[in-house]
């Protein structure tokens, strides 16, 4: 990789489309820069001060003023429309995306695969597969940035954000933290390793670690969640099996999707949104549980099947 690159690698499905827009913007910028530079140089030479020739007073021209306000306006409308539609299109996560959880903290990225494999400052992904990242920060704001994929997302404390990408070629790419986060901000870097699916499977299988769902199951007892949420008891709290991804009705009206943010909120601030028919009895686990543990619990809850289905 050492050398003198002038353009970043193109390694994701969206990279080309972003580059195309970038080339358009560059073309517009170059055109207008050259136009202005050329006019300045031409006028400066042609109308340089010469004895015997005075300046000719030109007051202005309404037509020109309208033209050079309207033309840039129209061009920016194109930029806006193109940029926004591409942005919206790029933020739509494909259905078949593989879930990977990321926790940022000063100053490292902790990454967790659904199979249980964990890694730090490295992200291994298979080529040609859409990857959906769910990210949280343990402390300050970070930003997950992979230049070769043209993706970047600030990672916030107290909230989940998502991003996705699909790598188009194998190789190693830079992973940066792009939001200043303190002393070792520039050390919060790593690499994204894109592998052939077979190699990726091999890599995944190479280590036998507990899967997040298994860790979550253990935490489920350790944090005494099981005392109330055990399968079979339905007096005090809702059944968790099979709820993931469904809409639930809330006490006091309203509905919400039973997804990662809602599960997280229910652990940290259980009584903010209580499912209809239940009382706000659950204690808050704020401060007692780490972001990674919450992600494990979510993985476990996702793995639960509805009662009686087993």
């Amino acid at each position: 990789m050492i050398g003198f690159p002038l353009f970043p690698e193109v390694a994701s499905t969206i990279a080309r489309s972003v580059d195309l827009l970038y080339f358009f913007l560059t073309a517009v910028a170059v055109f207008f820069s050259i136009l202005i530079f050329a006019c300045i140089v031409y006028f400066a030479v042609k109308y340089r001060r010469q004895p015997g020739r005075a300046a000719e007073q030109v007051q202005g021209a309404i037509g020109l003023e309208i033209a050079w306000a309207a033309v840039p306006f129209l061009i920016t409308i194109v930029m806006f429309t193109w940029g926004s539609s591409l942005y919206i299109a790029n933020s739509r996560v494909p259905q078949q995306a593989m879930d990977i959880y990321v926790v940022g903290r000063q100053w490292m990225w902790k990454i967790q695969h659904p199979s249980g494999r964990r890694e730090i400052n490295e992200l291994h992904v298979p080529v040609g597969q859409a990857i959906k990242l769910t990210l949280a920060s343990q402390d300050v704001i970070h930003s997950f940035y992979i230049p070769a994929f043209r993706v970047k997302q600030d990672v916030l404390p107290g909230r989940y954000v998502t991003m996705w990408f699909q790598a188009t070629r194998t190789g190693e790419f830079h992973l940066f933290c792009a939001e200043y986060c303190g002393t070792s901000h520039s050390g919060m870097i790593g690499r994204v390793v894109v592998m052939q699916p077979e190699d990726f499977e091999k890599w995944l299988g190479g280590v036998t670690e507990e899967t997040p769902a298994q860790v979550g199951e253990r935490l489920f007892s350790e944090f005494n969640c099981i005392n109330c949420h055990a399968t079979g008891s339905r007096q005090r709290c809702p059944q968790l099996g099979g709820l993931y991804g469904r809409e639930v009705e809330l006490e006091g009206g309203g509905r919400t999707t039973f997804d990662e943010p809602y599960i997280r909120e229910s652990i940290i601030a259980p009584n903010a949104k209580v499912v209809k028919g239940y009382s706000p009895l659950m204690p808050s686990y704020r401060g007692q549980i780490s972001e990674e543990q919450i992600l494990d619990l979510i993985a476990y809850i996702r793995s639960l099947t509805p009662e009686g289905a087993e």
Binding site: I2, R48, D139
Partner: protein, 544 residues
């Protein structure tokens, strides 16, 4: 010449009284302008010293010159000092203070005591910030993003925030003074559409200062409270929203960019007309473009937050509004260029700066479009692309305009001429050095080099070395004017009242002007930049 000898004994604002007291208690806007000139020059070179250290550190990818902690403090202090203590006050408090009353035919600003107070407040805020620097510095970045600044940083956040908070009042007082002065103190006959465009642009700047600055004040106050008492206002652990800070911060800090550039645009309008001997092309459009920028500038702050977790709908609204603010800037550039058409152009040093400004501002403005475009901004935000873009606006634009203005009005301010050859040479050095420093950073940015990095991957080194080389040239370019302007105060040739043969009312006063500016209040019957009439008059045979 006999007029020369008379000049020697004439009383003016510099020699009407002597001693430290006469300066520290002055209510004369011209003396206060010089007090500001001295203060912000000190801050400029301090901020510049930090910049030099940053560039030296980035010469090698390993980050081996200073520790990362030190590096973080360097770029933070560079940003804070350059933005709050140099760029924002620079043209308004120095050239604006000096020229605004003279340009509108007034004896002083509307509130001279507030004007002096503004300098004291500025100095107090500056001392606070310097105190924070000396006692160890601050490392949050000039943006003070929470919760890093409110909870995690171990440096002198509160002292620095207090310094900026105090300085904000200086900005408010200056803005208030300019608005009232422009409305109420114009000479008879000087209607709004006869005003020099420098006055329009300073008026627009003053509006932003007055309406934006209080918001940064309360924002920093809340950060201080959060940091001191941990009540949760910006702390997600206690239910706060860090993005609320970003909204409040950028509500001021984006318009603050226009505080920096608008007065520069005003200077350019004066310079381009004078050295082309022409009335400005499309006066009304340039004038209203200033006001449009001041208003639209308040509607675009969310483009700093496209990847921050802000709602994508808000992102689209802000993206659209950001494109709108590009239009008045484009209109200005086209009008300046058109002003050259059929002019009689001379290339004195101020004009070189002005032409440099137009070119660099064009590049800076056009690259701003990349950052307003949502899909591209996702990739380039928080990279060196942004760094390059805003330096093109602020250093390529604003500092060029400031230097051009200082040169142009130096004869009026000091009563002395600067050495023209040296000045042209310095202008070229600045232009070359600037481009070499910051153009490579656009490429670095699209390559993906994040900003605020103390160490970086080795493949970025070549471009970084170019940038550092440019910075050394740029440093020389800034030191040169400092040297010869100081030299000229003592050894320069005495300036005539109107060495550029310019039209503004300020040139109708003697150089340097007397304390009261005008012996009699002038009555204005002509348009601004009436160079045509001036040339015609000169063509008429002089009647003895």
């Amino acid at each position: 010449m006999s007029s020369e000898t008379i000049r020697l004994y004439r009383e003016h604002y510099l020699n009407c009284s002597y001693g430290v007291r006469s300066w520290l208690l002055t209510k004369d806007h011209k003396r206060i302008a010089l007090l500001f000139l001295i203060s912000i020059t000190l801050f400029f070179f301090l901020g510049g010293a930090f910049a030099v250290l940053i560039r030296l550190e980035l010469l090698t990818p390993q980050g081996d010159l200073v520790e990362s902690e030190t590096y973080n403090k360097l770029f933070t202090m560079h940003g804070i000092i350059m933005i709050f203590f140099f760029l924002i006050p620079s043209i308004p408090t120095v050239l604006g203070n000096f020229l605004l009353p003279m340009m509108i035919g007034a004896r002083d600003l509307a509130f001279p005591r507030l004007n002096l107070l503004s300098w004291y407040i500025f100095s107090l805020g500056g001392l606070f910030t310097l105190g924070a620097v000396i006692s160890g510095g601050v490392d949050t970045g000039w943006t003070f993003y929470t919760p890093y600044s409110s909870t995690y940083a171990n440096t002198h956040v509160i002292a620095t925030a207090v310094g900026i908070f105090i300085t904000g009042f200086s900005s408010i007082l200056t803005g208030l003074n300019f608005i009232v002065t422009t409305h109420k103190m114009r000479a008879p006959g000087l209607t709004w559409f006869r005003l020099p465009l420098f006055v329009w642009s300073n008026y627009a700047t003053a509006l932003i200062m007055v309406l934006g600055t209080p918001v940064i004040a309360i924002t920093l106050l809340l950060v201080g409270i959060e940091r001191g008492f941990h009540v949760g206002i910006f702390d997600p652990k206690l239910g706060g929203d860090p993005l609320l800070f970003q909204h409040l911060f950028w509500f001021y800090s984006h318009p603050a960019v226009y505080i920096m550039i608008l007065p520069g645009m005003g200077v350019i309008s004066e310079l381009v007309t004078c050295f082309s001997r022409k009335r400005i092309f499309g006066y009304e459009f340039v004038a209203f473009a200033s006001l449009a920028i001041a208003v639209l500038g308040f509607l675009v702050w969310g483009h700093h937050m496209f990847v921050s977790g802000q709602s994508p709908y808000a992102g689209m609204i802000f993206s659209f509004l950001s494109f709108l603010v590009a239009i008045p800037s484009a209109v200005k550039v086209f009008n300046w260029t058109a002003t050259l058409y059929k002019g009689s152009i001379s290339f004195d040093a101020p004009m070189l700066y002005a032409l440099g400004f137009i070119g660099l501002f064009t590049v800076g403005g056009l690259t701003g479009l990349f950052l307003a475009t949502l899909a591209v901004d996702v990739h380039v935000t928080d990279t060196y692309f942004v760094v390059a873009h805003f330096h093109y606006i602020m250093v390529g634009g604003m500092v060029m305009a400031y230097l051009g203005g200082i040169h142009f009005w130096w004869p009026k301010i000091s009563g002395k001429l600067y050495p023209e050859t040296w000045a042209r040479f310095a202008a070229l050095v600045v232009f070359v050095g600037f481009n070499l420093t910051f153009f490579p950073q656009f490429i670095l940015g699209y390559l993906g080099m994040p900003r605020r990095y103390h160490a970086y991957p080795p493949e970025f080194q070549v471009l970084n070395v170019m940038s550092t080389a440019g910075a050394s040239i740029l440093a020389v370019g800034y030191l040169l004017p400092m040297a010869y302007l100081v030299w000229s105060m003592r050894y320069g040739k005495a300036a005539t009242d109107n060495p550029w043969d310019a039209t503004g009312l300020e040139w109708q006063t003697p150089s340097p002007p007397p304390t009261e500016n005008f012996a009699d209040t002038p009555v204005v019957t002509w348009e601004a930049y009436d160079y045509g009439a001036k040339e015609d008059k000169e063509k008429e045979p002089q009647v003895a």
